[in-house]
Symmetry: C2
Subunit: 188 residues, 2 copies
DNA sequence: TGTAACATTTACCGATCGGTTAATGTGATC
DNA sequence: GATCACATTAACCGATCGGTAAATGTTACA
């Protein structure tokens, strides 16, 4: 199997897991949906868990890349970028395929902190927090670490609620919440 | 099976699903963990889905009851109660059994909005929002609906992150975020 | 054209899935 | 003590679980 074919497999597995859930999607169905036979899959991934970890690594890279690029395209100034995070989020919520966050779902299904899948989800959030912190510092926030933590909480809450309630309304509410927190972090 | 025995079954099933996940816990294992035979379970619940729904109804009632009582015990004044939500949350996070929110997990595993389990999770969050809104009104917030929506976002985000990162730190951060939002909603 | 290397398919493994059937207790009523 | 209603157990159903072995292409080079 070529490297590109392998990437394609991981990408398709990612979509299948995202849509269906990790436990709910079996390897037989995965083989059917990806068009790669089960034996061929197991040539490259020793277990289902390893395949899941590969999809999570891909998703982490894709999502953080997308968010950073989108944020920077929406606003040049660091302080505005902090708000633009929530404009990008709103765009994501409106995609028809949106079904919450892959890592929240992963941590829901693999709850043990010692489990590699759970740990990968935790790491994804840590990397987002680091990115937010960096931007808050550049923007000159009074307490950049604290502001970044607050914004991450708002982001995660918005994702959860966008998946359950009216996503448009939630996106607006999250943006307004972020604005309020950012303002508070610069004033006074 | 007596009514109390049935309640006990649902309570034990709730714990099993909460700890293990809905797809991951099979009916055989459920029978073993609850001490009620599979046949006896199916005498009272036509499908696994119905049993899950029963556990969610119980959890909804238990959680909202606990939160309201705890919040009222922690603070007499409505405005202080809005902050006390996050003190209660911090207590919850420190329980050794804490493993995120049952309804976030339910919506992670049952993603279709039309699915009864997903709908039940959405309803739980709606009821929480209604309670927050009521308190915000009593407290005299400028825009009670908006403030309640913001606080709910913070609550959900805090739960997700408390499950992934240091729960104590997240609880502190969430409380501080809530304070900032509440202050902003009364000032100006 | 023969053959070695690799990828893919088919069939299968024991275990478990959600759910059911038939047999076995068990307790109250007559 | 016989009988009837009910609760429980054990055994079983076809389907699917994660994972593997053996057979069957397919391709590249000699």
């Amino acid at each position: 199997m070529s490297a590109s074919k392998r990437d394609e497999l991981v990408q398709k597995a990612l979509q299948a897991f995202y849509r269906g859930g990790f436990h709910a999607i079996g390897m037989d169905r995965l083989a059917k949906e990806t068009g790669v036979s089960k034996t061929a899959i197991y040539k490259h991934f020793r277990t289902k868990e390893e395949l899941i970890l590969a999809t999570l690594r891909l998703r982490d890279e894709q999502f953080r890349n997308w968010l950073m690029r989108r944020v920077e395209a929406l606003a040049p100034a660091p302080r505005d970028q902090l708000i633009a995070i929530f404009d990008a989020l709103a765009e994501w919520f409106e995609e028809p395929e949106f079904k919450s966050c892959m890592f929240i779902k992963a941590s829901s299904e693999y709850q043990d902190r010692a489990h590699p899948i759970h740990a990968t989800a935790a790491e994804h959030k840590r990397l987002l927090l680091a990115d937010f912190t960096e931007r808050a510092k550049k923007a000159g926030a009074k307490e950049p670490e604290a502001l970044a933590g607050e914004l991450l909480i708002v982001k995660e809450g918005a994702i959860v609620l966008a998946h359950l309630h009216d996503s448009n309304q939630v996106a607006q509410m999250a943006r307004r919440t972020a604005e309020s927190l950012i303002n508070a972090s610069f004033d006074g």
